[in-house]
């Protein structure tokens, strides 16, 4: 294995990591996956350390995954859920971060509805900050677990064709996957209705199409994004049914795609909106593997940032 050292105190996004650093996380996660298969799924690596889950946006899945990951590393975990509506009235993010630091916590896992919030937080505290999803910006651990799952199935990332379908404009999962996959040499295609393709996305080294058949044609894997109709850009969305008709991943569409096309979804899935129910449960679907792998990947991230020696620099 390449002798790469991890020296970042934070994980803020895959944009800020080198190919080697991403590979190191995936390899480290591979070791942790073995731990998660044991009867005793706990190791003492982060004993005595405190991880604070600071969530400004409701999320059960990601929070539970981080919490389990931290606990399996023997860290103590505290969950703080904050209402976003009180941002201007209440304590600022920086003050909250400094308070958590003063409590002698070691790692803040932050989920925030504003893009860039973890970047700002990391600049103002000396303890580690792990981005658990910020606005439309990045969701690095999700992309890492997606890549881990792909590598587990296909043996490699370099040279594979991955298609991301859905609301690219407002998706942090899409952005992190694009950064990670392209750095590791995959060919990435994004596919969405024109309204949901953000300006200049092609400058992130991806193919862009509005045609789902074209997007699936050559794909080794498809990452189906959750359509978030509840967000405030509602007017931009075609009707749900219309969307399913045009972009939904259906059995019919799978017939025309590669036989062993891998189907991924960051969850929670909307059956019958972005993905047909049968497809979500079919043998090509790795959706539940993603959930399992999420813990190993997050253990790797928490372990690595806790070992970092240098200041972070993005």
């Amino acid at each position: 294995m390449a002798e790469v050292r991890w020296n970042k105190k934070d994980l803020l996004g895959l944009e800020y990591l080198s190919k080697e650093e991403i590979e190191l996380i995936l390899e480290t996660a591979d070791s942790f996956k073995e731990v998660t298969t044991r009867e005793i799924k706990k190791v003492p690596a982060l004993r005595g350390k405190t991880v604070v889950n600071l969530f400004y946006e409701p999320s059960t899945r990601t929070r539970v995954s981080f919490e389990l990951a931290a606990k399996r590393l023997s860290a103590d975990v505290i969950n703080i859920a904050t209402e976003t509506s009180s941002v201007r009235k209440g304590e600022t993010l920086i003050d909250t971060g400094r308070n958590i630091e003063a409590l002698k916590a070691d790692i803040i896992v932050v989920r925030h509805n504003c893009s860039g919030a973890p970047v700002m937080l990391a600049k103002h505290v000396s303890i580690s900050v792990v981005n658990a999803g910020d606005g439309w910006h990045e969701h690095p651990t999700q992309a890492l677990l997606d890549m881990f799952t792909l590598k587990e199935r296909l043996g490699r990332i370099a040279g594979i064709n991955v298609t991301i379908v859905g609301d690219i404009a407002h998706s942090r999962v899409a952005r992190s996957n694009i950064w990670g996959l392209t750095k590791l040499g995959a060919n990435v295609t994004v596919c969405a209705p024109p309204m949901l393709i953000p300006a200049g996305i092609e400058q992130m080294n991806v193919q862009v199409t509005t045609d789902i058949e074209e997007a699936l044609g050559n794909a080794d894997a498809v990452n189906v994004l959750r359509m978030q109709f509840e967000r405030d850009v509602q007017s931009a969305f075609p009707q749900q049914i219309e969307y399913f008709k045009k972009y939904g991943i259906t059995e019919e569409r799978l017939k025309r795609a590669k036989k062993d096309l891998i189907i991924m979804h960051p969850g929670p899935i909307n059956r019958g909106i972005e993905i047909a129910s049968e497809v979500a449960d079919c043998s090509q679907s790795v959706i539940l593997d993603q959930v399992t792998n999420g813990i190993a990947v997050r253990m790797a991230v928490l372990f690595l940032v806790s070992q970092a020696r240098d200041e972070n620099q993005i």
Partner: protein
């Protein structure tokens, strides 16, 4: 009191002078320009290898008083101005309350007369409360001393109301300044719309939100035969529209701010809220267009759009942070570094866009170093490089987009009405 400035390179675009001359100031006025002036009574400033030019006229400054004295006051803002070589500022009326009545102007004039360290001109609003609905008593405002009207910070959305305002402004002979932004297009954006906003996951503001409004306001100005000044031009399309209008003889002038020819959207890579302003930092092609427009005269003036904000307004999530940056104390050096050093502008051009032109647009007798004129001038070290640091700002706020940068050109003296109102600290070496 007499001041004799010796051996400086005198830059006076009004008289097309760019040569080494001595300049003698007596009491408030310039009394003599010549080689080898000697005067036993005068305080002598040795300006060898230095630039002597008219004090800057900055026609776009937010002094925040009344209402947000925690951000800036007339006192602190004009201290910052003279520190940056600015002798005259036009104070924007988006204060709390806004300057929309004769009473407000009288109140402001009183504060100015008691606390200002530089000349402060007053802009009043176009509409009451900057609500875009009801016109202010424009003629009266002019009589009270307002030199311009603007709803800066917002555009007047209704073309009908703006047209009415233009007719009244023409009759009152007062300048209209347009903040050009179509909010239905900027859509709560926080930065330029494009590859960078996509990368950062932030809402984007398209160029169209600016230039479509520039187009509309110029058309209205042409129709009503009103003189119009476009504030803070940031993009290529606006430049093209203004150039066309000027060619047609429409009475339109325009300004840009130093950040629009110095930085691009790429500066936002780490979500630094000190790079958040409205209009937003654009792209390389826009920067090139703005520089060319300054060279060819399409854009008449550089103004700082000095917009002070406190830490709690800036040190928060990018989405929630206030728009705006301070600029009074950096605008000269930024312009020297990014326009004169790069040969986009000569020193004469620089004095023109930073002093003479804005003075002419505002109709004031400044920006001119002729004998008999008010001695508003600055002595500048053109080669001194310095780093922009928070600690050195005299402004109450520190939200500069140039923090940490190395700039060339430092103000050594600011002289207003024959009085030295700013002198660089003795500890800083002014000789080379």
């Amino acid at each position: 009191m007499k001041i004799l400035i010796k051996n400086g390179r005198l830059i006076d675009p009004a008289n097309k002078i760019d040569q080494v001359l001595d300049i003698l100031v007596d009491n408030t006025k310039i009394v003599r320009l010549d080689k080898n002036i000697t005067n036993g009574q005068a305080t002598v400033i040795d300006a060898t290898n230095k630039i002597v030019m008219p004090a800057l006229v900055d026609m776009h400054v937010h002094l925040r008083q009344p209402g947000r004295e925690d951000k800036e006051t007339i006192f602190s803002g004009t201290q910052a101005a003279v520190h940056g070589g600015v002798g005259t500022v036009l104070a924007m009326p988006n204060t709390e309350p806004p300057i929309d009545s004769p009473e407000q102007i009288r109140l402001l004039k009183k504060i100015i007369s008691q606390t200002a360290n530089a000349k402060v001109l007053i802009a009043a609003t176009i509409t009451v409360g900057r609500q875009g609905k009801e016109l202010t008593p424009i003629a009266q405002l002019k009589k009270e001393g307002a030199v311009a009207i603007t709803d800066d910070g917002s555009s007047v959305d209704s073309a009908e109301i703006l047209a009415k305002a233009m007719v009244k402004a023409r009759q009152a002979k007062i300048l209209i300044i347009s903040h050009c932004e179509d909010k239905t297009l900027s859509q709560n954006g926080v930065m330029n719309l494009g590859a960078m906003s996509t990368r950062l996951g932030l809402r984007g503001i398209p160029n169209a939100s600016e230039y479509k409004r520039v187009q509309r306001d110029i058309e209205l100005a042409a129709k009503t035969k009103c003189r119009l000044h476009i504030a803070h031009v940031s993009c290529q399309e606006s430049v093209e529209i203004i150039a066309k209008a000027k060619k047609k003889g429409i009475m339109v002038t325009a300004e840009t701010a130093p950040h629009y020819f110095s930085l691009t959207e790429k500066a936002l890579f780490d979500y630094d809220t000190n790079k958040k302003m409205n209009p937003p930092l654009r792209t390389d092609k826009d920067v090139a267009a703005i520089k060319d427009a300054l060279s060819d005269g399409t854009i008449d003036a550089i103004a700082s759009d000095h917009a002070p904000h406190t830490m709690p307004d800036k040190d928060i999530e990018f989405d929630h942070a206030e728009f705006g940056v301070i600029g009074l104390e950096t605008e000269l050096a930024v312009s020297i570094t990014n326009l004169v050093e790069t040969k986009h502008l000569s020193w004469l051009d620089l004095a023109k866009v930073m002093s003479l032109n804005p003075a002419r647009i505002l109709g004031i007798d400044r920006g001119n170093l002729s004998v008999g004129k008010s001695a508003d001038l600055i002595v500048v070290d053109p080669v001194k490089t310095w780093q922009v640091r928070k600690e050195e700002f005299l402004s109450k706020s520190k939200n500069s987009c140039f923090l940490g940068m190395q700039l060339k050109g430092k103000v050594l003296y600011t002289i207003l009405g024959g009085k030295i109102v700013y002198k660089v600290k003795d500890s800083e070496d002014i000789s080379h």
